[in-house]
Amino acid sequence: MLKYLGDSGMPQHMFTITAHKNPLVMERLLQVVRYRGFTLHSVSMFPSDVEQEVNVQLSVETDKSVENLKNQLLKIIDIKHITVEDRSRQKIIA
């Protein structure tokens, strides 16, 4: 079961984020993740079909509340929407 956890042995959580297309948005995202004490595991940014939007997929390894991180990220003005999934649990179930 542990093999589905991140390298740190902590659960991995995937954030799927829709954001306003702003050169600053990635800096803001990464800063909040670091400052709030979460370890970044992976991050990718993709263009969106919607004009002036980008999609970001970001995973963190943590045993802290990801709800708290989600709420902090939602305070970034350019972020429009976030969904979070627990990847480790998903894989275990699968």
């Binding site: 709420n71 902090q72 003005i77």
Partner: protein, 551 residues
């Protein structure tokens, strides 16, 4: 019209009549436009002073404070003020000049990536890329600064965009009514049930109450329930200080009654407060028998530090009004009142030396209730919070979250500019005062009638107190006995000043200061070993207060 003129036109239409700043190369076009603008600009003597003045202006008036700086060092000097505004949720719009677009990214003279620097200390920041963006960007900055949990926004404008000619004109659109803002949270029924079943409830009042314009509603709730209440540093003034069930400030330097009551309560109702570590002490021990109802505008504060049994998000005024319910808590009320009586402040103090708490209590009794008190950071700040009766939250301005020394004088300048008819007193310490002492130049330049009460122990007092208590009396770098002659310093700026050293001088000196119609500095010499009591040591439960051990 130029970009710079357009900026001022948009600011004017957002009701800006005063702003604080300092000119320099990359913001010269804007300063050139200010030359003809009806907006009053106040030249501060350091950009940090400008930022703190904007904070003081905003907090005392409940309007947006505006500050300006040039690129590079001008912009970096704003950062501490913005950090203060971020921590204390103050609506400030900072405008910085930037080097011209074509020079950006070339390490040009006075170029700094202020956007990168300001990310962590602003609610939002934006760099303008063409003149057409200006009106919408400024409009958005004001809207963001004022919406939800308020905060600072920075707009960085390259010099060529300030100079660019534009045909754009600007007329501010009517603001749509804030639909749904009176909506009452569905969680309120659960909150009511908790309150109805509580034997020992406490209302824990934070700075959010004043900022949400919910002072009347919170006071109505207190009057309807007679619930005992405590306040944070930033919440002071939200509860009527004369309320018979009010126990004063809680936390590290809170009253004994407030801290014990919170530790004993079975229901803690937090309104616009964020469980700051200076409030809670050791978090695992804080009000550990209590259920928690948390009212806040910021979803991210819910469960951040303390898990809430019920969270009530949104409009505080509407929600707290809906919480009012009959409670039968007489034994608890009596217990709290008895503690307030038993642990009341004592102002009897041996010897002829001035006892700062007694002086501040006398000042509080002499000053009008509408007086704005600003503080710096340290012992005098905690004594001010403990011993001055504050009647509205916008009348007590202190750097809460950041504890930024140097806040008091420039914040008082901003407050006085926003409320010219009210008395404004900056209570400072000899350490903090020297951190923005250059703002005496601003007092002189505009003859701003701020009164400065300088509590002088010739020490960096709070650090010295901690060295005494927790660092084996190793007084590293806290001896300030080589301070300048503060009275002579004030006089160098044409500011009337006097120094007092004994108790018998206190009444007359305070009366003279309050009666003086211009700026005034009252230097109050106190014993270097006086300490702030009570004190909850760091990472300790709030009931384990250290009390008046004479140094």
């Amino acid at each position: 019209m130029t970009g710079a003129e357009l900026v001022l036109k948009v600011l004017e239409q957002h009701g800006v009549d005063r702003m604080f700043g300092y000119p320099g190369g990359a913001i010269m076009p804007l300063y050139d436009a200010i030359y003809d603008s009806p907006i009053n600009h106040y030249l501060c003597r350091h950009e940090q002073g400008a930022a703190f003045s904007a904070v003081g202006y905003a907090r005392a008036s409940k309007k947006v404070g505006v500050c300006l700086a040039t690129s590079g060092p001008g912009a970096t000097n704003l950062i501490t003020g913005l950090a203060d505004a971020m921590s204390d949720s103050v609506p400030v719009v900072a405008i910085t000049g930037q080097v011209s677009t074509k020079a950006m990214g070339s390490d040009a003279f006075q170029e700094v990536d202020i956007i990168g620097l300001s990310l962590a200390v602003t609610k939002h920041c934006v760099q303008i890329t063409c003149v057409e963006e200006l009106p919408a960007a400024i409009e958005e900055a004001f809207a963001i600064a004022l919406s939800g949990r308020m905060g600072p926004v920075l707009i960085d404008i390259p010099k060529d965009i300030q100079l660019a000619a534009t045909d754009l004109d600007y007329v501010r659109a009517a603001t749509p009514a804030n639909a749904g803002s009176e909506k009452i949270s569905h969680a309120i029924e659960q909150a009511k049930e908790l309150l109805a079943n509580a034997q020992k409830p406490i209302l824990y009042v934070g700075g959010g109450v004043g900022m949400a314009n919910a002072v009347t509603e919170v006071r109505d709730f207190i009057n309807a329930t007679n619930i005992p209440s405590v306040s944070t540093l930033k919440g002071l003034g939200a509860v009527n200080p004369d309320n018979e069930h009010y126990l004063g400030m809680l936390g590290m330097h809170g009253t004994k009654a407030a801290n014990i009551a919170v530790q004993q309560c079975d229901l803690l109702i937090a309104v616009g407060a964020r469980f700051d570590d200076r409030v809670t002490g050791k978090i695992a021990e804080f009000a550990k028998h209590a259920k928690v109802i948390h009212f806040d505008i910021d979803q991210a504060e819910i469960n951040k530090v303390r898990v809430a049994d019920v969270a009530v998000l949104g409009n505080l005024a509407a929600n707290i009004s809906a919480l009012a319910t009959q409670v039968d808590i007489k034994p608890w009320q009596q217990h709290c009142q008895q503690m307030a009586k038993d642990f009341a402040w004592r102002y009897d103090h041996p010897g002829e030396k001035i006892f700062a708490p007694a002086l501040l209590k006398t000042m509080s009794d002499l000053m009008p209730n509408s007086t704005v008190v600003t503080t710096d950071v340290g012992q005098h700040q905690m004594w001010s919070a403990q011993h001055i009766a504050i009647h509205q939250p916008e009348n007590f301005l202190s750097s809460g979250g950041q504890g930024a020394m140097g806040f008091g004088l420039p914040a008082a300048i901003g407050a006085q500019m926003s409320r010219p008819d009210d008395t404004v007193i900056a209570v400072s310490g000899d350490g903090s005062f020297m951190m923005n002492v250059q703002e005496l130049g601003t007092l002189k330049r505009y003859n701003i009638p701020v009164k400065i009460v300088l509590i002088d122990n010739s020490r960096l007092g709070m650090v010295r107190q901690w060295q005494q208590l927790f660092f084996q009396e190793r007084y590293s770098e806290t001896d300030l006995s080589d301070n300048p002659d503060f009275v002579m310093l004030a006089r160098a700026f044409d500011i009337k000043a006097q120094v007092i050293t004994s108790k018998s001088q206190v009444d007359d000196a305070l009366k003279e200061m309050l009666a003086h119609d211009g700026p005034y500095l009252l230097q109050v010499k106190i014993d270097e070993m006086d300490n702030v009591w009570p004190l909850v040591p760091p990472e300790t439960a709030n009931e384990a207060m250290l009390e008046s051990v004479k140094s």
